[in-house]
Amino acid sequence: MKFPLAVSAVIILASISLLVGAGDLSLTALLWPQEGQHATQILLISRIPRTLALILAGAAMAVAGTIMQALTQNRFVEPSTAGTVESASLGLLTVTLFVPDSPVIVKMLVAAGFALAGTALFLRILKLVPLRSVLTVPLVGIMLGGIVGAITTFFAYRFDLLQSLNAWTTGDFSGVLRGRYELLWIGLALTLLAYFVADRLTLAGMGRDFSTNLGLRYRSIVSLGLIIVSMVTAIIVVTVGMLPFLGLIVPNVVSLMMGDNMRRSLPWIAVLGAGLVLVCDILGRVVYYPYEVPIGTIMGIIGSALFLFLLLRGRQRLA
């Protein structure tokens, strides 16, 4: 499969995403609007922002997952199996409780700070856990996420914010309107930054000794990677809510296809991430038309199936 082909597929999916929804948005409605139709407004205020949000969030999340896997040298780690998402939610809850009127960028930054602290704690614990079998790493992350999540839920319950918490942890693009998604452009900037340092991230994925031998300052690239992952996670949690499995499946599929040299694989990961999110969101809009199923739910179903497939396939390769 060639890269231009994949890009065209994403463009086609994006066009479908522009046209699918409860409001009528056919070409005729756009060009010759009837009385009472607002096709142009629907397109500008809702559909275009939503489609852009899907592409930006999908690409950024898939790349963030790849970075996490390189930094932990483990294929089963992504922001939702490392305590990153839960920490970001805790940060968002904290800022909502104490400074409820703060602008969204401040909320995002606080959430990113918490995400960074939570993920750093995860790496710290990994250093202390002696037996680093492939599966203990994500298990440690899921347990840490469970603890942070429990704290968050407790306070959300006490302060009547459970509904908001649910919105952060379940991805849903139905609320995306012009003015509510623009933070995701920062996600794009972070994705491009990751591509810019792709060689260093690939080296970091080979471990501390290899990177040090080649003159790379391992610590600084790990810090940079953590900052990218934390900010991307925070941005996604703040704007559209968590997209589970995305950061796990896309990097693993691309790794099987073409290996882990990120200079080569990151563009694929970004494009396939965007594509998968588009497909899941369009499905969510069509399955129960004219109502919507949140993308988090669809992605959970498709994602867990794909993940199971990968796990079983992985076992075959080992045998």
Binding site: A70, Q73, N74, R75, A198, D199, R200, T202, L203, G205, M206, G207, R208, D209, F210, T212, N213, L214, G215, L216, R217, S255, L256, G259, D260, N261, R263
Partner: protein, 252 residues
Amino acid sequence: MIEISNVRKNYGDTIVVRDVSLQIPRKGITSIIGPNGAGKSTLLSMISRLLPLSAGTVTVDGLDVTTTPSDVLAKRLSILRQDNRVGSRLTVRDLVEFGRYPYSKGRLTAEDRAQAARAIGFLGLEALADRFLDELSGGQRQRAYVAMVLCQDTDYVLFDEPLNNLDMKHAVGMMKLLREAADALSKTVVLVLHDINFASCYSDYIVAMRDGTVVRHGSPQEIMTSEAIREIYDMEVEIQETQGRRISIYYT
């Protein structure tokens, strides 16, 4: 020259390397031998700044390894540790080309690619160049790592047990290749070796460690005596001379 002075490594009260002072001469092959737990690998890791020193200094051509920027050192000295469990799915060519990272910082020039191709050829890996590391046998993978380190093209090349995972034929091939790197490319090769007969046949200089200290150092002729081996390994061996080489018989 690598100059090691009063180097110590301790973890709490456990001393792994105690106040070692040593000069490793330029050019040729220097082998570090000794029983398990003698501190050989630890010393090699400290020389190559992979492990911080508890005390003392190490300089490479006058550059202090703890203060010299890592990327400057990466053009002078390279190290391959044992047990390389690289989880990344990289092709052999990708891996070897990463050996140029200190020079290219990821933007490979035509010269970098040619250098990588030469290293791949040197190790006889042409047919495997586009295979992923996780599709290779242990020995093939070991050769790919060695190709990467040679591609780094440093004056000093350090290997921790380079014969790991290699069968007899490939082990001899590897030692011959390192000999060639030392002679033809005038590199300084430092090895940690378990097999003292390989050390005897291929080294110019042998350093023997035991309990964290250097107990002997000298030419293979000087180290390969029953008396010296007894002191190093606490074991009686018979030394025989065949074709001008000293071989220890220690299997029975």
